[in-house]
Symmetry: C2
Subunit: 307 residues, 2 copies
Amino acid sequence: MTKELIFGHKNPDTDAIIAAIAYSYMMNESGKDTEAVALGEPNEETKFVFNHFNYDYPRIISSADTKQVMLVDHNEPKQSVDNISDVEITNVIDHHRIANFETANPLFYHAEPLGSTSTIIWKLMNQARIEIPATLAGLMMSAIISDTLLLKSPTTTNEDEAALKSLSKTAGLDYESYGLEMLKAGTNLASKSAKELIEMDAKTFDMNNKSIRIDQINTVDLDETLQRKAEFEEAIKAEMSAENENLFILLITNILTSDTKAIVLGDDESVSVFEKTFDQKLVDNIALLPGVVSRKKQVVPQLNANF
Amino acid sequence: MTKELIFGHKNPDTDAIIAAIAYSYMMNESGKDTEAVALGEPNEETKFVFNHFNYDYPRIISSADTKQVMLVDHNEPKQSVDNISDVEITNVIDHHRIANFETANPLFYHAEPLGSTSTIIWKLMNQARIEIPATLAGLMMSAIISDTLLLKSPTTTNEDEAALKSLSKTAGLDYESYGLEMLKAGTNLASKSAKELIEMDAKTFDMNNKSIRIDQINTVDLDETLQRKAEFEEAIKAEMSAENENLFILLITNILTSDTKAIVLGDDESVSVFEKTFDQKLVDNIALLPGVVSRKKQVVPQLNANF
């Protein structure tokens, strides 16, 4: 049997890594030969999770060395391995919009508009009657907590809540206290450079042939984080020029109050699309986005409709 | 609750229509408000099926009059309702490649590389423990027989066979004798004009910005059908010029011997891609494709790789 790699998106967050591990476990239990790999280093939150469960972080790759691959938690080629167009995608499990995705052959593709890819895999494992070991349940819990901000993000569904509660039982771990500790671990920003911070959760989207970069940083103190604004702007300008990006949006999200302020830089036309979309003029490159915590649900579709 | 329309592709075949009916039944049993509709008149085979089970053919539409829709048995916009870009696609159930499909929002998308969309819906209904009434089972049987040419197409999987056998039990109908009768009903070509025949199972694909039309006709006698070659060529040329198509491939498939001859017309560059792909020079616009019965598995990916 041909071995297949399974991976989440570049600049991986906790769900991207753990969905790959969970789906690989499920596939191997079903008789396939797969390996979960990562398209980048763990962020602070993900490090906390792997330390907590004393679990090995997957091998890091930038290009796939198998002929066939499975994608989790993404489908857009820009977010995938560098050689994605040279390999066959046989399976996709995702909870994002579908865009710029194309295959020559039919494939297995399962997407649902749920808060976390790990919730979908939890459902598929239940359907296939595959038992989830306690450590894997703890990892999957962490992925759901991360993507739903402890069930507070507007992307959260009843199924995410049911999955989190069930996995919490299997793992024997209180999800509220563990979840808060885990989310706070991800907001340890002081030790990182601005360049490192913006790259931690970075995604690039094609919108009407414009390259739109939308990065997100979680914090527990917006004003403290924004004291580093000049440093962020410098890092953003360097990235934009290196990657030829038309618009760069850095979402800085307070996970305790569910509010976001964004630093926005770009060409005049793209900035004015942003201003129109969120009905405000930037002041000193800053936009106020009260109640916004989800890039996927509260930023990408709204921008996409105006580009 | 907002009503949603469910439909298969334009120039519908038996699976496109019946997958919509089956998925609508499943959705409505799950508490949604949906209506199965059709994007065109039934072909001869589909007429036979609806007559046999004394079941009403769905309402025919060309443009969707609801805000949200669900697609079955297709995803490419060219094969869908005319106003597909103005409506929100909330669900897709399909067994084709994914191409030129894009959404602004996350959605429910379930595709598997099985022989028939109705097989996928049979699996989903089993998972959801929704009982399939005898008449619906008879319709779903017919869709699987149609798409797999009675389990003989290379697209056929073990799951299609299992679904067909299980549905055959529920319907109380021998699938072999019924299936042969049904397939033969679809090859009643004499009463139709060449234009009607090529439009019966017509699909257009975007390949590297070329518009590639691939139509298929089933027959039980290739030579008899090819006696009408001049008439087909005239109809093909008229369609190509009306629709600005670069390449037109009419697959004429003998369902008893599983062989195909194709009439191929197009611009020089596209025809030479065809010739390279199938390793032969056209003779009098005719290509010989022994063993080819599946457009999806034996024609589209091979052409797509060379365009």
